[in-house]
Amino acid sequence: MLANVFTKSTWDRWRGTTIAVVSLTVMLLFAMAVYRDIDLAIYTDLPEALRAMMNIPDGADVGSLAIGVLYGLYGAFTLAALALSMGSAAIAGEERRGTIGILLANPKSRTHVLAAKTAAMVLLIGAATLVLWGAAHVVPAILDVDMTGMRVGPYAFHLFVNALFYGFLAMAIGAWTGSRPAASGATVAVMVVSYFAVSVFPLVEGWENVARAFPWYYFDRANPVINGVHWGHIGLLVAASAIFLVAAAVGVNRRDLKDQEVGVTLIDRLRANPMTQKVADRLAGSTRVSRIWIKTASEHQGLLLVTALVMFFMMGVMMGPFYTLFDQTVLEFADEFPEAILAAVGGGDMSTAEGWYQVETFGLMAPIAVMVVTVAIGARALAGEEARRTMGLLLANPIPRSRVVLEKAWAMTVYGLAVGLATFAGVAAGSLLGRLGMDIGDIAATSLLVTLLGLAFGGLALSLSAATGRVKIAVFAPIAAALGFHLLNAFLPLNDSLAGYARWSPFYYYLTSDPLTNGMHWGHGAVLAGLTVALVGLSVVLFQRRDLRQPG
């Protein structure tokens, strides 16, 4: 009986899980192949503080370095994200889709449904862990990497239990609130904050033990890959998970189920309040619907707010003073980094403030932040309205399809610029606070280039959205392309004969000219801007030619 809900929940998720673990396996293969061919002294001789941050274990060799970085960082986050996505979808997801009513109209208790969803989550995370465990044996064997002394089994077990902890936490929040965004948002926040806390607190003298208050501590601080399973830590995580599961069962049974959910935003509350009604009405009502692009932008305001705040405060303002706290030995050491390796982590000479910001903020986080916003808007712009079946009504108005595409592209551009601006303001403020004396113009140039880079990938998402009308394709293809192009640009230059091909990657036109030191490279900026314009133009053509989809 339960098998129906269980098998359906498993079926809904197996593809995403498979793609995730296969990608991790490929990345492990790639990382081991690269690490095998370079002198690891540059990593292993790093000061302890920096090694802790990059998740590089003591006495690292090729195997432990690859496992530590790939599984300890990407693997742990991916598995936990899969689990929390399933956990938050378990009850709250069905409510959001409005399917919980019909599901519970069958002779199944709420507890049974929850149990089936739990079983599906445990099974899928378990299977994913098994694949990673297998990959950690097969990949080194293929590449002939020595894994002596590495205890992959216990490490995989820690990965598994850690991921489920976040899955059950999300499930409990979802079961109590019935809100999927609340469940996944709060759990992601716990995960990210505790990850940073566990990386940072041990570096601050006198605060080392504060890290124990955060759950990520119990994932790998006992170094299970060397020391085996730490049953005390596992026991804590399992006990917490059990409490969450019981809480979820109690929560889902005692409350009224929600119908399809419409989020209540701050502005809605202001509109309901007679004091603020007039202003809020103008903002939320007449202004919001005055133009297609403003309405499109308003639909993504939450995403923009979060992304811009993260870039401004965490990646911008905080990084400046943090740099000054850093151990000088790290900075001296950084001089010895081979240039090619520095290019791989986003370039930058760590002994300068510019290099520091390039590695910490601009190398990866800034492109990711801009792309999160531009790809989300680009992909949803056309395909999203089609999926929600509102495109027909929109196009019943006397406006050409090209105008819809261009207004949506404009919303994407405005938001991309906003993230770029937040990054610029944050880094400029961080530089002032830390008295780092960075050049404002250079910060602006780099922020502009990263915005243009993000817009190019947003343009790709828009084109795919226009061509296919399918949100999934328009989201995942640009992400895959961005990852691929980033790796090409990072690793091709390590080989002199292949270095020239890096020009085919849009990332080449972002940091290669070292804009944080040299200022704006207008030629490179023009390439990225031209690419964006071409992709938007292509979107107009593609969208005009095609039948609108009508999803059932």
Binding site: G285, M391, L393, Q550
Partner: protein
């Protein structure tokens, strides 16, 4: 009819791969009429409407609205039409008023006093978020949106879905008023009683092909009548079978039930010659029976 043609299709055809969703649709709709577009699920009604709106492009054939090609002049045409899509979806985070404001901004020239009147007539609530409305109340927002700029041509796909009977009456009156003002209503519907009440003509579509276009009055007059006759003595079936036009005969002692499509005069004279007629009940066929007749052939075929 001398009225101006407002919607005109010529061999309009749409294939999805091997699926022939719409085949050679030739149809004219005139100013000042309500055309009911009938057909079971999957017959091609929505495909036809989406082609008229240029949401999808025909595999063959063409269509005109107000003398303009539906693809070439799509934008200009949309200044003159109101549209309620089938299975209506709106933006859940906008209130009804926000939704109407949005479309009014895109459309231009909306008279808000008219919107207020429509809102009052349909008893709609525009202050709530669309996502919080029941499907019927959401449908009202969609209907107001289609009527609000007094379009020359209204194209509606199952517009009364979810509306309660009182609101349906009002909505039907609104459609009749549109037609009375010389404007056109193209109404796709399952609700046969509604089509019967408001439509001047009906088009019946089946498997993507238009099988009949007739005025509602003509369809009814052609249709079978069901007649119950009661006599003061037992009757024999053979007497009725001899009358041309009598189809199904059920005789039970003093009663006979017939379906008949001939002249009433002939039938009555024949039976009155033989028996004493005590009572007669006849009922005009309604659209549902006509509709079922068309589709029963399909089942038998």
């Amino acid at each position: 009819m001398t009225a101006q043609i407002t919607i005109h299709t010529e061999g309009l055809t749409k294939h999805y791969g091997d699926v022939r969703a719409l085949v050679d649709l030739d149809l004219d709709v005139y100013a000042g009429e309500v055309l009911g577009f009938l057909g079971p699920n999957g017959a091609g009604k929505t495909t036809a409407i989406r082609t008229l709106l240029d949401e999808i492009r025909p595999t063959a054939g063409r269509a005109e609205i107000l003398g303009m090609d539906t693809h070439e002049s799509a934008v200009e045409i949309r200044r003159h039409i109101g549209y309620v899509p089938g299975d209506l979806a709106l933006y859940p985070n906008l209130t009804g008023r926000d939704t109407l404001t949005y479309f009014a901004n895109l459309r231009g020239g909306v008279d808000w006093s008219h919107v207020d009147e429509l809102t009052r007539r349909l008893d709609a609530d525009l202050s709530k978020k669309v996502g919080d409305l029941s499907s019927g109340n959401r449908q009202k927002v969609g209907v107001i949106q289609a009527f609000m700029n007094r379009p020359d041509v209204l194209v509606m796909d199952e517009p009364s879905a979810g509306l309660d009977p009182l609101v349906q009456r009002e909505f039907q009156a609104m459609m009749r008023e549109v037609a009375a003002e010389g404007r056109t209503v193209f109404l796709s519907s399952h609700t046969l009683s509604e089509v019967q009440r408001v439509a001047d003509r009906v088009g019946i579509i089946r498997h993507g092909r238009l099988v009949a276009v007739e005025s509602v009055a003509d369809l009814r007059s052609k249709a079978m009548r069901r007649i119950e006759l009661e006599f003061d003595s037992p009757v024999e079936a053979s007497v009725f079978g001899a009358v041309p036009g009598v189809r199904e005969i059920t005789v039970e002692d003093h009663r006979a039930v017939l379906t008949y499509d001939g002249k009433m005069d002939v039938l009555l004279k024949t039976v009155a010659d033989r028996y004493d007629l005590v009572d007669i009940t006849t009922r005009e066929a309604d659209l549902e029976e006509i509709f079922l007749t068309y589709y029963r052939d399909e089942v038998n075929a």
